[in-house]
């Protein structure tokens, strides 16, 4: 019996999202009275660090062909590790890769699954987990009845908790199938924080009046280490690139802090951001629906408020 966590590395090193998944796996293992084993695919540098978050064993398949993601090859190798370690729960990250894996792995293992969970499972005779549904407008409790279970953990739902130290990495010898998908090129967004992983997001909408006015948004974002985002009309009119579009039909995010600047707060936009921990809304329209979803609001012209906010953050940074 064990909980197997597939910890994804990013460009060869493990970051916070992987530590969150191991923390989730460790807590799940405690509930079930078993151990948490971390599995790493591809070449990575700091796999031993996963021990710090509760993995009693770190298994690595350091095969260069696994450096890029293919759902079929990954599924195959994870299934081998699950079988070799008698896993009864497999934990994935609910990332782009994890979302591409969760269904496939569940089908392969003939496992019941719950994608995007944000709570530790119960262990009162039934295995139940909670996840957001209806784009964050409700929460569902899912019961999984199969002997082996697959869950993927929503990012930023659990903070990594160090419970031990680095441990040595064991090599896991797996039969790695040849991938039928060839990677031709990779284009990572350079220099800025990737939106789905950002802890702070500065987002702006039609209230900006035009793409030439985005300087203050970028300045604010850079100052506080935030990613930039936008509403759907802004992306659709090509003021900003599509990958910045957050909302029900764009990227769904759940940062610790979300600034909505000049965005009215249509229900479809809210659905993509309403799991953010703290929401600040800046809008000159007191009737903007976004204020109902906000923790803090400023009702004024954004072109007055944002430069002032930048000055206040600068002052704050100088004082801490």
């Amino acid at each position: 019996m064990s909980v197997l966590v597939f910890a994804e590395n990013q460009g060869g090193s493990f970051k916070k999202a992987a530590f969150e998944a191991v923390t989730y796996g460790y807590k799940t293992a405690q509930v079930l009275g078993t151990e948490c084993i971390a599995l790493c695919l591809g070449e990575a540098s700091n796999a031993g660090e996963l021990g710090k978050y509760g993995a009693s064993k770190v298994l690595s398949v350091a095969d260069a062909s696994l450096n890029s993601f293919d759902s079929q090859a990954y599924t195959n190798v994870i299934a081998q590790a699950a079988e070799a370690n008698g896993a009864n729960v497999v934990v994935l990250m609910h990332s782009s890769t994890g979302k591409g894996l969760v269904g496939r792995l569940a089908a392969k293992l003939n496992a019941g699954s719950a994608p995007g969970v944000n709570q530790i499972p119960t262990n009162d005779g039934a295995f139940r987990v909670k996840k957001n549904v209806f784009s964050g407008k409700a929460i569902a409790e899912v019961e999984i009845k199969s002997a082996i279970k697959v869950v993927s953990v929503m990012g930023n739902s659990f903070q990594p908790e160090a419970v031990g130290g680095d441990i040595s990495v064991e090599s896991f010898s797996a039969d790695v199938p040849a991938s039928r998908v060839t990677v031709k090129s990779v284009d990572k967004v350079q220099g800025s924080v990737p939106l789905p992983e950002a802890e702070v997001v500065v987002s702006a909408g039609r209230g900006m009046k035009g793409p030439e006015n985005w300087g203050i948004i970028e300045e604010l974002a850079e100052l506080i280490g935030a990613a930039t985002a936008c509403s759907r009309p802004v992306a659709d009119t090509h003021w900003r690139p599509h990958h910045e579009h957050v909302g029900q039909t764009g990227v769904a995010i759940r940062p610790n802090l979300y600034f909505a600047i000049g965005i009215s707060g249509a229900i479809q936009h809210l659905a993509g951001v309403n799991s953010s921990k703290v929401i600040v809304v800046i809008n000159k329209d007191p009737e903007a629906p976004f204020f109902k979803a906000a923790d803090y609001g400023v009702c004024a012209d954004l072109f007055d408020v944002v430069p002032r906010l930048i000055e206040s953050f600068k002052k704050h940074k100088a004082n801490v």
Partner: protein, 246 residues
């Protein structure tokens, strides 16, 4: 090319979400249902474009009860040639995927299209499950698809960027924003859709391995705290001391 597009019925994006008294079922009273936007705007429209450019057929598949036919008709109005509905009330993603795979297994489809997720259950699971059950490659979050003969070049979203991959047919993909532009069916399409066949089939047996046991609404937000526009120092102070975020 033979193209199969998996379409799902979901509540409209603006629908009010509520549940029955026991909180075990979605309350569909007064709710308008639509075709899942990712299935319609991106998967189906891109399949139509490929058919228009290269010839072939576009078949829709839906796993659900008879009242899903309205949504299927819309897909036919957008231009799909025919449709099949597996007549059942599915409770889990794997059940749905089993039905689609059983239908597609001997169908000789070159590409099976799904949307990247449904806007109700937000699972992103069915495409990958169908691919596994059919032993096909699966390309998730595809934002661009070009075909030359049996070779496809696909751009997909990955963590923090994009990746361009090559894969040969047959394969399964899930379509995300960027893949195509929404199409509004015209009157001719709507008229023709009435005469197109929806083949209703019985489901294969498959016992659900997971199920939603209850729903709840997220905790209500406390009222928004308004900060005077002149005093942004106060907003920063609140974020630092009260919210403890900055």
């Amino acid at each position: 090319m033979k193209l199969l597009v998996c379409v799902s019925k979901t509540p409209d994006t603006t629908a009010k979400i509520s549940f029955n008294a026991e909180n075990t079922e979605f309350n569909s009273a007064g709710v308008q249902f639509i075709m899942n936007p990712y299935d319609e705007w991106y998967a189906l429209v891109r399949a139509m474009e490929l058919k228009e450019a290269n010839g072939g057929t576009v078949t829709l598949i839906n796993v659900g009860p008879a009242d899903n036919d309205a949504v299927i008709r819309k897909g036919l109005a957008i231009g799909a040639d025919d449709a099949v509905r597996i007549d059942c009330n599915p409770k889990s993603s794997l059940y749905v995927a089993q039905q689609i795979a059983a239908f597609a297994k001997d169908g000789g489809y070159d590409i099976v299209f799904c949307g990247k997720e449904t806007i109700d259950y937000n699972g992103s699971e069915v495409g990958g499950m169908v691919a596994e059950l059919l032993d096909m490659p699966f390309i998730s979050f595809a934002t661009n698809l070009q075909i030359e003969g049996s070779d496809a070049t696909i751009v997909r979203d990955i963590e923090g960027g994009k990746e361009t991959v090559g894969v040969a047919t047959p394969f399964v993909l899930s379509a995300a924003k960027g893949m195509a532009e929404q199409r509004i069916p015209n009157m001719r399409g709507i008229m023709q859709a009435r005469r197109k066949p929806i083949d209703v089939k019985s489901p294969i047996d498959f016992e659900d391995l997971s199920a939603v046991v209850s729903y709840e609404m997220p905790p209500a937000k406390a009222a928004c705290k308004m900060v005077a526009p002149e005093d942004m120092d106060e907003l920063v102070r609140l974020l630092h001391e009260e919210a403890k975020i900055i």
